[in-house]
């Protein structure tokens, strides 16, 4: 049985519901059942057991965990993720302030990775084992082995401390103008994009070399006298870019994890920095809200990339077994 596109999409969205319930449940159980628990986390390890009992009751944490989960889920479905213990601000509005900043950072990182990896991959595939291919292979290896905070430190040392061309920390919103905004985001974005750059470079190059060697259409196009270069740019690259869509989905978790470190280092007021600061201030509702939001974003991005792939390539549309 072959399904049409609307059925595929409808089916995947229905499958999403149990996944979202599962993800929120895991998040809730993980953060509520770990030894210590919220009350100890708020009071610190030196609190007496009496203080812990009082606070536990005050926060309603003495009720059964499934009851609390149900209450949380019910409120969350209605857009209420609780309130910060520190500022009393609602978690949803906190996220609303922070998400755009992180989204901009992520987009910039993706953009840098694409702009750098695509030409290098084409050049590498054009002359496999040539000079460019060897250099880009080395770059990819280094990129995959270097944690983002190390890249960030090197960038700060060179660009902010020695050359003094960029500010070492701080953030200017887009409303302060495009250039000041980009100036504060460019180093964190480059730090995060190195892993993406390395991954895309390897995947694209490998896929293009594969296509050149195996695909029938390559022989057909070549027979018409088209040069390797034009063949690569006009045909092979376009096909290979499909493959990248899946990689974007696979990478999104690591990338979101990267925002945690990079935003803290550069004092960028995004979601990652919110997570770290609320962990340190023992603000449990905010931690819960941020972690669950990040997991949901990962699930959604994976869904979108899967669907996009199905839209672009009819061969992967699900049959009855999907």
């Amino acid at each position: 049985m072959v399904l049409n596109l609307t059925q595929v999409i409808g089916r995947r969205i229905l499958q999403l519901i149990p996944v979202l319930v599962g993800v929120t449940l895991i998040n809730f159980l993980l953060l509520n059942l770990l030894p210590g628990g919220t009350a100890v986390a708020i009071l610190g390890a030196s609190a007496t057991s009496q203080e812990v009992t009082v606070l536990t009751k005050e926060l309603g944490l003495n009720r059964p965990v499934m009851v609390r989960y149900w209450d949380w889920l019910w409120a969350a479905v209605h857009g209420n993720l609780g309130h910060s213990l520190l500022t009393q601000q609602s978690v949803a509005s906190l996220l609303g302030q922070r998400v755009p900043v992180t989204a901009e950072l992520l987009l910039l990182a993706f953009l840098i990775a694409f702009v750098l990896s695509i030409p290098l991959a084409v050049l590498s595939a054009w002359r496999p084992r040539g000079v460019v291919d060897r250099i880009s292979n080395l770059l990819a290896m280094v990129g995959l082995s270097t944690p983002n905070f190390i890249v960030a430190l090197v960038l700060v040392l060179v660009l902010a401390i020695h050359l003094r061309v960029l500010p070492s920390t701080g953030f200017q919103p887009l409303s302060a103008g495009l250039w000041p905004n980009v100036q504060t985001l460019i180093m964190p974005a480059v730090a995060m994009s190195l892993v993406l750059f390395a991954t895309y470079l390897q995947v694209l190059r490998g896929d293009m070399v594969d296509q050149l060697a195996k695909e029938d259409y390559v022989v057909a196009v070549r027979a018409r006298g088209v040069s390797t270069w034009r063949l690569l740019v006009q045909h092979v690259l376009r096909n290979s870019l499909f493959g990248i869509i899946t990689v974007v989905g696979v990478n999104i978790g690591t990338l979101i994890g990267g925002t945690v470190i990079v935003e803290s280092m550069f004092s960028i007021p995004g979601v990652g920095q919110l997570l770290v600061s609320s962990i340190f201030s023992r603000d449990a509702p905010v931690v819960e809200g941020v972690v669950v939001m990040m997991a949901i974003v990962v699930v959604m991005v994976n869904l979108v990339t899967d669907l996009l792939y199905a839209v672009l390539d009819p061969r992967v549309r699900y049959g009855a077994t999907g």
Binding site: V19, M141, L153, G257
Partner: protein
């Protein structure tokens, strides 16, 4: 470790001889670097004349590398950086190996079970693990570590929350492929019990690719550990660790960059060697 395990499988798959496949510098250089790193971190502090990681003198703070008595210089408290890197390396290696060993065991069992038994085992185990995989690894480790506490054992558990589902996915995929192979079908037709087939045929054939994947995972685990320390949620000073050393040197980046870049070098060399070794082994398995 990986090499011994691969030893056991070669006859079963009828591969080219082990000896011919273990040639090549791409395999031995990273393996030698890793061995040297392990010896340096675990044995040199025992037998060599290395100052204690916290034996610093305040009159000798921030000495550059190649200073007298301090080969790689000292940090802001006058502690010898080489010594701190070696002791810190013990933590990184233990956390990397520990969290991956846990992940390989738990993930291997779950993945093989899901792949071999199929049906309800498969769907329930894999759905659950996929949901855990939706949490970004560092975020999961951060959240868990913040509740558990800043000691080595808890950091290992926190990272194992990520290594387990990642391993299980690969173990399941490999088991599914094996299940179709003739020798497994033959063993089933011969009336062997599932337990026997798993132990005798499935586990030894899944193990090499899991261990190779494990090398890459150790690299990822070490980076997560360093990131946790860096954020102040893993191992904390004065106990030495690469991540916390990098973090504490950050404010002196302009005047004494070596405080940051000495531990960075240790981390980078170790992670790169793990990735290179994993690559070398993977291409060898792919060729066969």
């Amino acid at each position: 470790m990986a090499l011994q395990a691969s030893d056991a499988v070669v006859p079963g798959l009828g591969l080219p001889s082990l000896r011919s496949r273990l040639r090549g510098l791409d395999l031995w250089v990273p393996a030698a670097v890793l061995a040297a790193m392990a010896v340096a971190c675990f044995l040199v502090p025992l037998f060599g004349h290395v100052p204690g990681p916290n034996a610093g003198v305040l009159s000798q703070t921030r000495l550059p590398p190649l200073s007298r008595g301090h080969l790689l210089g000292t940090d802001t408290l006058g502690n010898d950086l080489l010594s701190r890197c070696l002791y810190g390396g013990q933590v990184s290696i233990e956390v990397g190996l520990g969290s991956v060993a846990l992940g390989l065991m738990a993930g291997g069992v779950l993945g093989i079970l899901a792949g071999y038994k199929g049906a309800i085992y498969d769907s329930s185990i894999m759905r659950l693990l996929d949901m855990i995989l939706a949490f970004p690894p560092l975020v999961l480790a951060l959240a868990v570590a913040s509740y558990l506490g800043p000691n080595e054992q808890d950091v290992i558990f926190a990272i194992a929350f990520f290594t387990t589902p990642a391993t299980a996915r690969l173990a399941r995929a490999q088991t599914l492929k094996l299940r179709e192979r003739e020798f497994i079908v033959a063993a089933e037709l011969a009336g062997h019990k599932a337990w026997y087939i798993l132990r005798r045929h499935v586990v030894p054939n899944v193990a090499p690719s899991l261990l190779t994947f494990g090398l890459t995972l150790v690299a990822v685990a070490m980076i997560i550990e360093a990131a946790l320390d860096f954020l102040g949620l893993g191992i904390r000073p004065p106990e030495p660790s690469w991540g916390s050393m990098i973090a504490s040197g950050q404010s002196y980046l302009s005047t004494s960059p070596w405080i940051v870049f000495v531990p960075t070098g240790f981390l980078f060399v170790t992670v790169t060697s793990l990735n290179l070794l994993g690559n070398a082994l993977r291409t060898r398995w792919a060729r066969s």
